[in-house]
């Protein structure tokens, strides 16, 4: 009889575990599922939707102090009172960056009279070791750019890139970097973020939307 005891114990433990499993299953199935708790009715599209990613809530732009291609210092306070589109790029870039410069040139045409007065375009370099103010000046004037083009020492620029979540990796003359662009309102709040290279029309539409909201 004793030699059957381990066998009986195994059966009893199995039955106990099975009972616990069944009880847990019954409890689980009596609760509402995740889908039951989700309202599947589409939410109405808000009037203020932007093409780019809306920052919720808007984030105040971090403090910075950089040098424009003109040699003037530009800080975050210089962005107040205007709508600013700020992007990251570099002048030696042969494939990707010319597209972004083209976008900003397109915006210059689109907002001809409003540029400087109400809207400003800002580039920040991701290659400060090459992009001196003199070089940025030559580049900007060659293209006929009406933007600010900002640079500084590498250590300072690293802080700026971190602030704007821009990853930068330099390999020889080329620089891999995050293509991020930010739309900042007149109060210095980052309202919209763009990833990649949206068309000029996307930037223009969002700038107008921000102008409407500000007025």
């Amino acid at each position: 009889m004793l030699k059957f005891r381990p066998f009986v114990n195994t059966i009893l433990i199995s039955l106990l575990l099975l009972t616990i499993g069944v009880l847990l299953w019954i409890r689980q199935s009596s609760q509402p599922s995740y889908l039951d708790t989700v309202n599947l009715t589409p939410a109405p599209i808000p009037d203020d939707i932007f093409v780019g990613d809306k920052m919720v809530p808007p984030v105040p732009i971090a403090d910075f102090n950089l040098i424009n291609y003109t040699g003037d210092n530009v800080s975050n306070s210089n962005l107040l009172g205007k709508i600013t589109l700020l992007s990251f790029t570099y002048t030696s870039c042969p494939d990707t960056c010319p597209i972004m410069f083209g976008r900003f040139l397109g915006l210059q045409k689109e907002f001809d009279n409003a540029l400087d007065a109400d809207i400003q375009l800002v580039f920040v370099t991701v290659d400060p070791e090459v992009d001196t103010p003199e070089r940025l000046k030559q580049y900007t004037e060659t293209l006929g750019g009406q933007w600010l083009f900002l640079t500084e020492e590498l250590d300072i620029m690293r802080e700026i890139w971190d602030t704007f979540h821009v990853y930068v990796e330099k390999e020889g003359a080329l620089v891999g970097h995050s293509n991020l662009t930010y739309l900042i309102d007149e109060l210095g709040l980052v309202q919209v973020r763009y990833s990649g290279l949206p068309p000029t029309s996307a930037f223009a539409a969002d700038i107008r939307k921000l102008q409407e909201q500000s007025s």
Binding site: T91, S92, P94, D95, T96, E169, G176, S178, G196
Partner: protein, 127 residues
């Protein structure tokens, strides 16, 4: 009956875009393998730049970076499009300023088809 293998490579719509500083340029084109054997682009040469190589822009989310492509396979029947944000010929350190509208020569080396000379138009954007 054995069928002879033959590489037939056609290269069309070749254009290059210099940067505004006239230091570097990127070359774009359409390469098609119409032969009955696989081929590969293994080299590029130009007389108007210090170096020439095949690159590809890799996009990982918002991060854009370029990587060297020393061996670009072009299987039979396939078309490879070199265009902005994708494959391109990286022409670094231009020897001479290029003018929009002028034409320049590029030499492409294929594993089977050998060297092919193509004419590229200097443009700011693809027509």
């Amino acid at each position: 009956m054995a069928c002879a293998t033959e590489s037939r490579i056609s290269v069309e719509d070749v254009w290059i875009r210099p940067d505004p500083m006239m230091e570097n340029a990127a070359g774009y084109m359409i390469i098609q393998n119409t032969g009955n054997t696989n081929d590969a682009l293994i080299g590029v040469k130009s007389e108007f730049s210090s170096t020439a190589s095949v690159h590809r822009t890799v996009m990982e989310g918002a991060l854009h970076r370029m990587e060297h492509v020393p061996y670009l396979e072009i299987p039979t029947g396939k078309t490879i499009i070199f265009q902005p944000l994708s494959y391109h010929v990286m022409l670094m350190s231009l020897n001479t300023p290029l003018e929009i509208g002028q034409t320049v020569n590029l030499m492409l080396e294929f594993e089977n088809a050998g060297w092919i000379s193509v004419t590229a138009e200097v443009q700011l954007d693809n027509k």
